[in-house]
């Protein structure tokens, strides 16, 4: 009986809290809609109509030039040349008088000359157009742009030809197979995608062609199963009974890693022009659409939170018998709901599905959480504007730029937007990759809200302190005893993870000899800061006594917290990041991606390392900022040396 009573009590409390959150949410919604009065909305509507009609009329009149590269390359070409049509079709090119002196003075970038017929000896077998380019990079770039313009002009002309066999004399099928240097990755499935591939102009020809010879090659089931029966090496299929000896090996894609599937970006069969190197441009642009409305939502949200602080209206809420977490939840709910509704709307409009929505929602939550914390720290609306711009720029680049490399490297999966791009391309998204890319976003949103709620109290809301001090305050608000230090360190892990992945993404273009040592130092620094910054905050606010034993105890707690939390980075293994050399450098010191026999040593190693280095920086944190920085550098040096040792030992 008693247990039921307790349960009922708890349910009643939860219901009361939910009702309160709902009431605050309704109040917040009413507040923000009434502040945008009718006149403002009318002005916005009028502006949209004016710009829309001007835009529509310029498009209708044909004078619109939305491409930012309009007319940047000037081509000297005779008025009767057939190449005028090419130049007219391409926005970046503009036709000028063919004048050799103009080429020398830089008035034009290219000069179109005559045609050299193909010769029997060495050299191209088709006629070549002679073109003179101006000296320098611009001339060379102009020539490349002109060449690809002629190429696409020809492609369009060929599509109109009646004799399609002469127009499309080559039919290509593209397939990807692993090489042995990459280890025993599962073979891929070229045949399956042939059916989905874009084969607009050469469609029927391609089908007949496939039927002609490549039946074995394009049939994924027969060869695939044989390949697996052979031990999964996907190699020589000459011993298989149902394929002739000259058929290329084609494997089964269903069991392949995510990377294998991610590689199928463009079409994989058709005429040579239709083969696409994996670059998902269209899907990327569509994915970017999800980010645009977030900026408006966070602008509104941030100013609502800051307004509460500046007009001191928040004081009334604070004295009400409501928990702080409920206030924050109620205030955030309407904005989160708007963000989710807009996301669902966009997903429906551009043909994204459930995966897109579930990939964008954590991004939206992180936007809101970062804005909330920023609005709790900002002293004025001016400062808030900058905080908002910082959040926008940082998060947008962090989620957008890696997704450009969706089909190239698994690093792209650090951004949830990659999942959107993959879904738009019709690829499957595994649970592992979903967890990998959205996990840090969910957890960091939660931690940011937690930190912000910690300073949602009178002494911080209505005081004017510089942002760094407020930040230390926010950390200190989460500390209570030795154990809380370890917990807070563990909570920092998503940020550490994000920072390390960002470092990998940025350093990934450098040569491997430079990037790996640099990466090891960056990672050590990031981890050392994460383990000690809150200890410093605790000492600064006199929460802990500044004795050596206390510092060592706190350092040990922090190190253990980090060590435990670090084990969760094992999720990176699910997407094959450790296969990448940089990924190895980042993850190996944590004991991930290494054979079990060596794990025991590596299990103890990181634990000792993290406690020792955290202890060093905690000793420095007892004193002033300068000493803290010195000890931080020392801890980073030790940590980086350890990382380097592990990587060279097992790399």
């Amino acid at each position: 009986m008693r247990r039921i009573d307790r349960l009922r009590n708890r349910l009643a409390t939860a219901g009361r809290r939910l009702r309160r959150i709902g009431r605050i949410a309704r109040w917040e919604l009413g507040q923000s809609t009434s502040s945008y009065n009718r006149r403002t909305l009318a002005v916005v509507a009028v502006l949209v109509v004016i710009v829309g009609s001007v835009g529509a009329s310029t498009v209708a009149l044909g004078v619109a030039s939305p491409a930012p590269n309009t007319d940047i390359y000037r081509v000297g070409v005779a008025a009767d040349s057939p190449y005028n049509a090419v130049i007219e079709d391409n926005a970046a090119l503009t036709a000028r008088q063919p004048d050799r002196t103009a080429l020398a003075t830089g008035e034009i970038d290219l000069l179109v000359g005559g045609v050299r017929q193909a010769t029997a000896g060495p050299g191209p077998r088709s006629p070549t157009l002679l073109v003179e380019a101006a000296d320098g990079q611009k001339g060379a770039a102009a020539l490349t742009a002109f060449r690809s313009a002629v190429q696409s002009y020809n492609d369009r002309a060929m599509a109109l030809e009646s004799n399609q066999t002469a127009a499309y004399p080559v039919v290509v099928e593209l397939q990807y197979l692993p090489q042995s240097t990459l280890g025993p990755a599962a073979p891929t499935d070229a045949g399956d995608l042939t059916d989905d591939g874009e084969t607009e102009s050469g469609g029927d020809e391609d089908n007949t062609g496939s039927d002609g010879t490549d039946t074995d090659a394009t049939d994924p089931t027969t060869n695939g199963t044989v390949g697996e029966a052979n031990g999964g090496d996907g190699g020589d299929t000459s011993d298989s009974p149902d394929s002739d000896a000259d058929a290329p090996p084609v494997g089964d894609g269903n069991g392949g890693s995510l990377l294998d599937r991610a590689l199928f970006g463009g079409a994989t069969s058709g005429s040579p022009a239709e083969i696409q190197p994996p670059f998902p441009f269209g899907s990327l642009l569509l994915a970017f659409l999800f980010l645009v409305p977030m900026n408006f939502v966070i602008q509104s949200y941030g100013s609502s939170v800051l307004n509460e602080r500046i007009s001191r209206r928040g004081e009334l809420l604070l004295v009400a018998p409501i928990e702080r977490l409920d206030i924050v939840a109620g205030k955030t709910l309407p904005y989160a709901a708007i963000a989710i509704a807009v996301t669902v709307g966009i997903a429906a409009a551009i043909g994204g599905g459930v995966v897109s929505v579930f990939a964008v929602v954590p991004i939206a939550l992180t936007f809101l959480a970062a804005t909330f914390l920023g609005a709790m720290f900002a002293r004025s609306f001016k400062e808030l504007t900058f905080v908002t711009i910082t959040i926008t720029v940082f998060l947008t680049s962090y989620v957008f730029i890696p997704s450009i490399f969706t089909n190239v490297t698994p690093i792209a999966l650090i951004s949830p937007l990659t999942l959107v791009v993959m879904e738009l391309q019709g690829e499957a998204v595994s649970l592992g990759s979903y967890l990998f890319s959205t996990g840090p976003f969910y957890t960091s949103a939660a931690v940011l809200f937690l930190l912000g709620t910690g300073v949602y109290r009178e002494e911080d809301m209505f005081s004017q302190k510089p942002v760094p001090l407020k930040f230390l305050d926010a950390l200190d608000a989460r500390l209570s005893g030795v154990r809380s230090v370890g917990v807070l360190t563990a909570l920092f892990l998503p940020f550490v993870f994000i920072a390390e992945l960002l470092a990998i993404a940025v350093l990934f273009v450098l040569p491997i000899e430079v990037s790996i040592p640099l990466l090891l130092v960056v990672i050590a620094a990031v981890e050392e800061v994460a383990k000690s910054i809150h200890i410093f905050a605790g000492f600064e606010s006199d929460r802990f006594d500044r004795s050596v034993p206390t510092a060592l105890l706190l350092g040990a707690a922090s190190g253990v917290g980090f060590f435990v939390a670090e084990k969760f980075t094992a999720v990176a293994q699910l997407v094959g990041l450790p296969d990448l050399q940089l990924g190895q450098a980042a993850l190996q010191p944590a004991g991930i991606g290494i054979a079990p026999s060596t794990t025991l040593l590596l299990l103890a190693g990181p634990l000792v390392l993290h406690t020792v280095t955290a202890g060093i920086s905690a000793l420095g944190a007892r004193k002033r900022l300068r000493w803290y920085l010195v000890s931080l550098v020392a801890a980073t040096a030790i940590h980086a040396a350890y990382n380097l040792g592990v990587v060279t030992l097992y790399g």
């Binding site: 710009v51 930012p68 004399p169 397939q175 190699g235 590689l263 100013s303």
Partner: protein, 365 residues
Amino acid sequence: MADRDLWDRWHAVADRFSDPRLTIAGREIRVLGREKTIILAVVIQLFVAAFAGFLVVGLVSLYDPGSVDGYQIDAAVTGDATNEMLAAIDDRPAIDGTRYATTSDAYADFQDGTVNAVFQTTRVDDRIQVVMTAPDGSIETTLVVSEGQEALRALERNLRAERADSLSNPPLPLPPDTGGNPYYDFTYTILLPLLLFLPVFISGSITVDSLTAEREQGTLELLRVAPVTMIDIVDGKSAAMIAIAPIQAVAWMGLLSLNGVAVANIGWLVALVVAVTAIVVALSVAVSLLAPDRRSAQLLFSVGILLFFAGATLLPGGPANTAARLAIDSATLSTRLVVLIYGGVGVAAVGAVRRLATRIDPNRL
């Protein structure tokens, strides 16, 4: 004694030339410096520039084999159209083709990593069928695919040239491939306009915040006793904001030049930035004077600036395209005329906003 005299005289001179508008402008800039917000703004832009630079380098090295020095693709060619395929591969300096007698040998070498690509050719009624195999899951995949595609296009061109008689419109001959950077214009058409107009947006946003904060804190009421007018305040704040945008723009252009990106027509570009900043700042002043409160002002400003850039981009000679054409040194007389038009619009907008400011009663705000 002499010092004191000099000091007095200096004050007298300073008083004669001092202007409340200059005082206000100076104060605005000092406040920005004190709040360190402008530093944050510069850091943000640096971040954008770094990431965009990373993007350019990444794109070029991933999608343009010519930029990777000495990278050579070894391809195995087999099947009945090996001769044609090898002739096409000869045109591409980055690929070396090798004849293989049997397909299984070619794939064995591919498995070992001896060759990076396999072209398996078959003749099927007047057509050549090619199965192209590229390595899976390596950074070189894109290079191999795009370079292999070029070789296949060369093959296609050669065959089309042979069959030109059966085509009603034979393809136009192509110029030779000299390996120019296909992303050369990215820096000028995307990155440079972004760096030039981000400070403009920041200036406008600060103006809105500065004016509306003044209004909401009730400090504008002090105007009744201060020897400055509403126009002085608008002038001072606008002048400060119009001044900081071109300074940042010049800094960015200098940084780009240091990185080996030649920027032409710097004077015209600065004039363009000043003109566009004047328009945007005038818009933000008008919005903050007319909107009922801060949030409405920010909303109107955000929507307004979005529409301004969207609308101006649709027109021939949009700001981004004008900046790109000036910087890449493809400007014509009409490009320069467009800059002058932006200047004219900017002057008109500032004039209109000043007229608006005279009509606004600061006490009623």
